[in-house]
Amino acid sequence: MTTAGGPSSSSLADVIDTILDKGLVIDAYVRVSLVGIELLTIDARIVVASVDTYLRFAEAANRLAIGSEPKGLSDLVSGGTEKIAKSKTKSAIEEKLGGLLGGQEEPERERVSRKSTRGDR
C-alpha cells in the first residue's frame, strides 16, 4: 500500500498498535475498573524474534527460486505473499482480542471503511 492519493486508512492492527498502550492514564482509584484491559495491553505485543521466526525465515529463503532472478521483477509474486502474511498477523491479534475481552463472540474481520463515522467538527 503506497501513499498515492493521501494517507491510508488504519487497519485494526494499526489501531491496536496505536491506542492500546499509549495515551493519558487516569489515576487508578478514580477509574471504574474494567477487567481485562491491562492484560490485553501486554498480550497484544508481538514477540518479534523466536525460534518460529527463524524457521519461517529459513523456509521462506528455501522457497526462493534457485538462481538469481533479476531484482525488481518479482513484484507480482511478492505482492501475493505479503497479503497472506498480513492477514495472518491480523487474525492472530483478533483471536487474542476475542479470547480475552470479547466474550464468546467471533472476532470481527477487519473492515476497510472509515468514512463518515469520524469525530467532531
Binding site: G36, L55, E82, G119, D120
Partner: protein, 267 residues
C-alpha cells in the same frame, strides 16, 4: 480532587442513574470543540463535559458490558482521530471510564486543568501521523542472500534436506536473516526520519510489531503541512518500490506524545 467516597454519594443521590452506568472518556479538548454526530464506544452518543477552558469528550456506557472488541477500539480511535483534524486533543488510553459527568468535571478536568490547558496549547495546529513500512518478503530475502555469503551457503545447505535433517542449518539461517532484517530496519528507520526532516516536531521510533517491519515511527506535525508529509512518504515509497510497502496514517490524536507526567512530550 474529590474523593471517590463523595462521588459515590453524589451518584446514589441521583435516582435516575443506575449503579452500572459509567462515562467513557476519550480525551481532552479545548472547550470550544463541539461533538459532531460521531458514534462512540458501545454505540454511545459522543458528548462533551466542560470545565472552564477545557472539556472532555465522553459517552455514556454500562460498566457491565465487556470492553475491548475490535469495534470498541475503532470507535475510540475514530472519535479522537476525527477530532484531531480540527482541534488539538489529548487522548486518554483506551478503556478509561469514570462514574459520572461530575467525576469527569471534578476529578479529571479541574484536578488537572492547568496541565491540560498547557498541553493543548502546545498541540494547537498539530496532529500525529504514523509512517509504517513492511518489507516485501521475497525482495528483502533476496537482498540479504545476495549480500551475505554465509546466509547464501546455509540456504544451499538446506536445499536438499528434510526439515528435520537440516534443522540446525535452518535455525542458523533464520537467525542470520532475522538479524539482517533488524539491521536493515534500523537503517531504513533512520532514512525515513531523515526524509521527513524539517516537517516534524517530534518523533517516536516505535518498537517493531512484526518481524518483517521496515519502519514504524509516530511523528508530530502541522496539520497544514500534511501534503508535504504525504509527498515525502510518497518519495520513499517510490524509492523502495517492490522492496518496502510503506504507508502514512493520520491525522490522529497525539497518542505517542502525551504522557501523564509531561503532556505533549517534546522529543
Amino acid at each position: 480532587m474529590a474523593t471517590s467516597e463523595q462521588t459515590k454519594n453524589q451518584n446514589t443521590e441521583k435516582s435516575d442513574k443506575k449503579q452500572t452506568a459509567g462515562v467513557y472518556v476519550y480525551g481532552i479538548v479545548p472547550a470550544d470543540v463541539e461533538p459532531g454526530d460521531a458514534t462512540g464506544v458501545a454505540d454511545g452518543k459522543v458528548d462533551v463535559v466542560t470545565d472552564g477552558d477545557i472539556a472532555a469528550l465522553v459517552s455514556a456506557m454500562s460498566v457491565d458490558r465487556p470492553l475491548g472488541k475490535p469495534e470498541d477500539l475503532r470507535a475510540h480511535a475514530n472519535v479522537l482521530d476525527g477530532t484531531s483534524r480540527v482541534a488539538p486533543v489529548l487522548p486518554l488510553r483506551f478503556g478509561a471510564v469514570l462514574t459520572d459527568a461530575d467525576a469527569v468535571k471534578e476529578e479529571l478536568l479541574s484536578a488537572h486543568a492547568d496541565e491540560f490547558a498547557a498541553a493543548l496549547e502546545q498541540l494547537e495546529g498539530k496532529a500525529q501521523y504514523v509512517v509504517k513500512g513492511r518489507y516485501v518478503e521475497q525482495a528483502i530475502l533476496r537482498e540479504i542472500l545476495d549480500e551475505n555469503e554465509q546466509a547464501a551457503q546455509l540456504r544451499d545447505e538446506i536445499r536438499d534436506k528434510s526439515e528435520d535433517a537440516g534443522r540446525n542449518a535452518r535455525m542458523a539461517l533464520g537467525e542470520l536473516v532475522n538479524n539482517a532484517v533488524a539491521g536493515k530496519r534500523e537503517e531504513d528507520t533512520r532514512k525515513t526520519v531523515e526524509a521527513l526532516g524539517g516537517l516534524i516536531d517530534s518523533v517516536n521510533r516505535r518498537e517493531p510489531t512484526h518481524e518483517e517491519e521496515a519502519v514504524q515511527v509516530a511523528v508530530l506535525a502541522d496539520v497544514d503541512r500534511q501534503d508535504q508529509l504525504e509527498e515525502a512518504v510518497g518519495k520513499l515509497a517510490e524509492e523502495w518500490d517492490g522492496r518496502v510497502e510503506i504507508k502514512l496514517l493520520g491525522p490522529m490524536a497525539a497518542y505517542d506524545f502525551v504522557v501523564t507526567q509531561n503532556p505533549a512530550g517534546q522529543g
